[in-house]
């Protein structure tokens, strides 16, 4: 129980940190602008393509909402690759820079609670960032004929948040290693990009390695989820990244605790 209240305390402090930082709002503004532009341009492009196909008299049924959802979330996933490392870069690096990390490391709160609280704060902030998209989606999907079933869009959002959580968690670990926020962001971006495209590399390798590597791919599992497939292995992999990030963060702070003694 104490652990949970500790987590909540850290979570609130972290979230407050985001919401009072002008820098965070600039990131939010940029994200809103980019994602909004993606939204409207993909929406128009898709509807143009479909009306062109209709003119040609295509015999196949077309699900405009589904196609749009897929394209938009693919773009959103890519955009998140760039935005999320910026959200996670300050999680520990900032504390280290300010010298408050020792305080945190030696405090009675366990490293796990701190890490979980910080991660939850970052995830909550990202969720806040994607809220306006729901308004646009509500307007666009409201016009769907026949009406859209909620399953696939819900899963797509869940997939996005899981992806974000995985990236933030790994980013948090990298942030705990350095006192330079820029370095943390660059490292996170590199790692995440590598994990994003790892299945491209995997195609070149012989059988068991290619399967293992392609399983590590963030893109593959994110795609699974936004396409509307709940694949246990995808959920497990994304959760594994989250747990791994949390664990490594706790370990790295633990190491700090002893190193300074």
């Amino acid at each position: 129980m104490i652990a949970i209240s500790n987590i909540i305390a850290i979570f609130r402090k972290e979230l407050q940190g985001y919401f009072t930082s002008p820098f965070a709002y600039i990131i939010v503004g940029v994200f809103w602008f980019l994602s909004g532009s993606f939204f409207i341009s993909i929406l128009l492009e898709t509807s143009q393509e479909i009306s062109l196909l209709e003119q040609q008299g295509t015999p196949y049924p077309i699900d405009a909402a589904y196609i749009f959802l897929l394209r938009f979330f693919s773009a959103l996933g890519l955009l998140s690759l760039f935005i999320l490392p910026i959200l996670s870069m300050g999680l520990y690096a900032e504390e280290r820079k300010r010298g408050t990390l020792e305080l945190l490391a030696t405090s009675p709160i366990t490293n796990w609670s701190v890490a979980v609280g910080k991660l939850l704060g970052a995830i909550a902030f990202f969720t806040f960032m994607i809220l306006p998209l729901l308004i646009y989606e509500a307007i666009a999907f409201g016009t769907a004929d026949p009406p859209l079933q909620p399953g696939v869009p819900l899963l797509a959002h869940l997939g996005l948040i899981l992806l974000a959580a995985a990236i933030l968690s790994l980013g948090m670990f990298l942030s705990s290693l350095t006192d330079s926020t820029i370095l943390a962001a660059i490292l996170t971006f590199t790692l995440v990009l590598l994990l994003w495209i790892v299945d491209l590399l995997a195609n070149r390798l012989p059988s068991p390695f290619s399967d293992i590597l392609s399983h590590l791919s963030l893109l593959k599992h994110y795609n699974n989820l936004i396409q509307g497939v709940v694949d246990l292995s995808s959920l497990v992999l994304l959760m594994s990244y989250i747990i791994l990030g949390l664990f490594l963060t706790a370990q790295s702070i633990e190491a700090l605790r002893f190193a300074r003694r």
Binding site: T20, I62, A140, G151, D231, S240, Q251
Partner: protein, 563 residues
């Protein structure tokens, strides 16, 4: 760690050896049986876990020797990290090994049909799908991955045809992006992928079903009357045609009716390639009976030859014209060569669009309507062509009196339903369900009935016609007549669409084109977003201006407040 009393710790370290032996047992069991089922895997997992726990207790003892706190912490961290990574790896391995998926898409886009699941789940031997494509298409890969999840005996491989030349040789690959099946040392070409045609469950499952059933339709080439022969190569040979038939999964043999006491019972189609002498009356009768009992004949004629098949043709309303077709539209070429780019609406010519096929020495065919027989002209010559009656002339020219003006037809496809009232589609459908009683088809029937969702109504009307036509294979007689024989010979077979004209004709005749499993193609739900200009404008303003501006405004405000 600190809470565990010392004596317990002392013994716990032996877990390493216990874990090691269990893990080795799992490994051995797995490698010996070559099947990584639940038992060896769980042994491996449990063993590794025990080993890790043991190591955690074992290592501090080592560190006592070192007597150094920081190294102890460091090693602890490394061990703990490694163990977490291994545990996560194992969990992931299990999740991949025992997949479970829920498909939330409305039309179950990513779920294979029950028929496919059954076939792949019950594969008695390994089956391999080879796609000769260096850059795998993600959608194809997704589909094949989905197949692989259904059973252990299903494998697939993307082969780069530029590198693995041995494979190309072995499978007889002609073009890029071909898909081949390998099962029990049998090889079969399935399809060639293109922009329009991606790998589909319908074709893949049916191909797999065929190769498992080892259904290789038997095709006969009639011989004994100076016909073109599949055993010859060169000008009068059909060896290219034969090998491409074999590649397409047919068995090909020659048939000499004079030598045989019995008419072959296994013929999926009989090809009569341009007889030079007349067939005996008895032979014609045999062919006629064969055709009447639901057989399939492909007749190819050289102009100005007597084949003796005229009574048979007459029964079907086909008349050969003894004039020779001259095509004025081909410049600088032999006038007796006819170029065709106008095809009838028929399964044989469905994909040809306006492609060319070339015919040297052709005669026109005419068809009179006969009740119960449906005739479709397949190959039509151009407007500039005509049928020349006088071949003695130095220079051919069109004489309105004796010649016929084009377009002329040099190929007909005819079919006759043996059932009465064959137009009545409802009746046909009833027949369908009674006719095939194999377990797979039974299931498929009930399945397709269930799936009569309103969304698929549109496609229903199209596919129903095909189904009712193709499922009548027991009772339908099919005849394809060409007033040309050269197009399929070795020099011409690979030219333009000639080979496809021949192959598709045989496919249609042998009735192998149709699908024995009634798997519906996966289709999206038909849905549109009917945004008004106002709504689109609203999203545009919100998404691009108002909301981002709001974000920047708050950024400015917090910055100002902080000062």
């Amino acid at each position: 760690m600190k809470t565990i009393p010392k004596p317990a710790q002392k013994y716990l370290k032996y877990l390493v050896f216990l874990g090691l032996s269990i893990a080795i047992a799992g490994l051995v069991a797995g490698f010996v049986s070559e099947k990584w089922s639940a038992l060896p895997i769980s042994l491996l997992v449990v063993g590794s876990l025990l080993m890790l726990v043991g190591l955690v207790f074992y290592l501090p003892q080592l560190q006592v020797v070192l007597q150094q706190r920081s190294t102890q912490v460091g090693t602890d961290a490394i061990v703990a990290t490694l163990s977490v990574i291994i545990i996560l790896g194992l969990i992931n391995f299990l999740a991949v090994r025992y997949p479970s998926r829920i498909d939330l898409t409305e039309t179950q886009l990513f779920t294979l049909s029950p028929q496919t699941q059954k076939i792949i789940g019950n594969l008695p031997q390994p089956l391999k799908v080879l796609v000769f494509d260096a850059t795998p298409d993600p959608a194809d890969k997704e589909l094949l991955d989905n197949y692989r999840r259904q059973g252990d005996n299903f494998q697939y491989e993307f082969v780069d045809p530029q590198i693995k030349l041995g494979m190309v040789e072995k499978f007889g690959v002609d073009s890029a992006r071909e898909v081949h099946l390998e099962y029990d040392e049998r090889l079969q070409r399935l399809q060639t992928l293109s922009e329009q045609e991606s790998l589909s469950e319908v074709s893949l499952s049916n191909g797999i079903e065929r190769i498992i059933r080892q259904e290789q339709p038997q095709i006969y080439f009639l011989q004994g009357h100076g016909e073109l022969s599949p055993d010859n190569s060169g000008e009068n040979g059909l060896s290219s045609a034969e090998s491409s038939l074999e590649n397409a999964g047919y068995r090909v043999e020659t048939l000499n009716l004079a030598d045989r006491a019995e008419f072959p019972q296994d013929a999926a189609a009989i090809i009569v390639p341009a007889p030079q002498q007349e067939l005996l009356e008895r032979e014609v009768e045999l062919l006629q009976d064969y055709l009447d009992e639901g057989g399939s004949l492909l007749l190819m004629f050289e102009p100005r030859t007597e084949s003796g098949l005229e009574p048979l043709l007459e029964e079907w309303g086909v008349r050969r014209d003894s004039r020779l077709i001259i095509d004025g539209s081909i410049a600088n070429s032999s006038l007796a060569t006819v170029l065709v780019n106008n095809y009838g609406l028929h399964p044989i010519t469905a994909d040809f669009e306006n492609g060319n096929s070339i015919y040297l020495l052709s005669e026109p065919l005419e068809v009179e309507e006969v009740e119960g027989i449906q005739a479709t002209s397949l190959l039509r010559t151009s407007e500039q062509s005509w049928a020349e009656s006088d071949l003695e002339l130095e220079e051919f020219e069109f004489n309105p009196g004796s010649d016929i003006q084009g377009p002329l037809t040099i190929g007909y496809a005819l079919n006759r339903q043996q059932t009465e009232e064959s137009e009545d589609r409802d009746k046909l459908e009833e027949l369908d369900s009674d006719e095939e009683e194999s377990p797979t088809s039974e299931e498929s029937e009930s399945d397709s009935d269930e799936e009569e969702s309103p969304a698929s109504e549109e496609s229903d009307s199209d596919s129903d016609e095909d189904e009712s036509e193709s499922k009548q294979d027991e009772k339908e007689s099919r005849l394809v007549v060409f007033g040309n024989s050269r197009f399929a010979t070795d020099g011409w077979f690979k030219q333009q669409l000639n080979g496809d004209v021949f192959l598709n004709s045989v496919k249609w005749l042998a009735n192998t084109d149709d699908t024995s499993l009634s798997i519906r193609p996966k289709e999206l739900k038909n849905r549109r977003l009917n945004l008004t200009v106002g709504q689109a404008g609203m999203i545009f303003w919100l998404a691009v201006f108002i909301v981002p501006a709001f974000g920047f405004a708050i950024a400015g405000w917090t910055w100002w407040r902080r000062r």
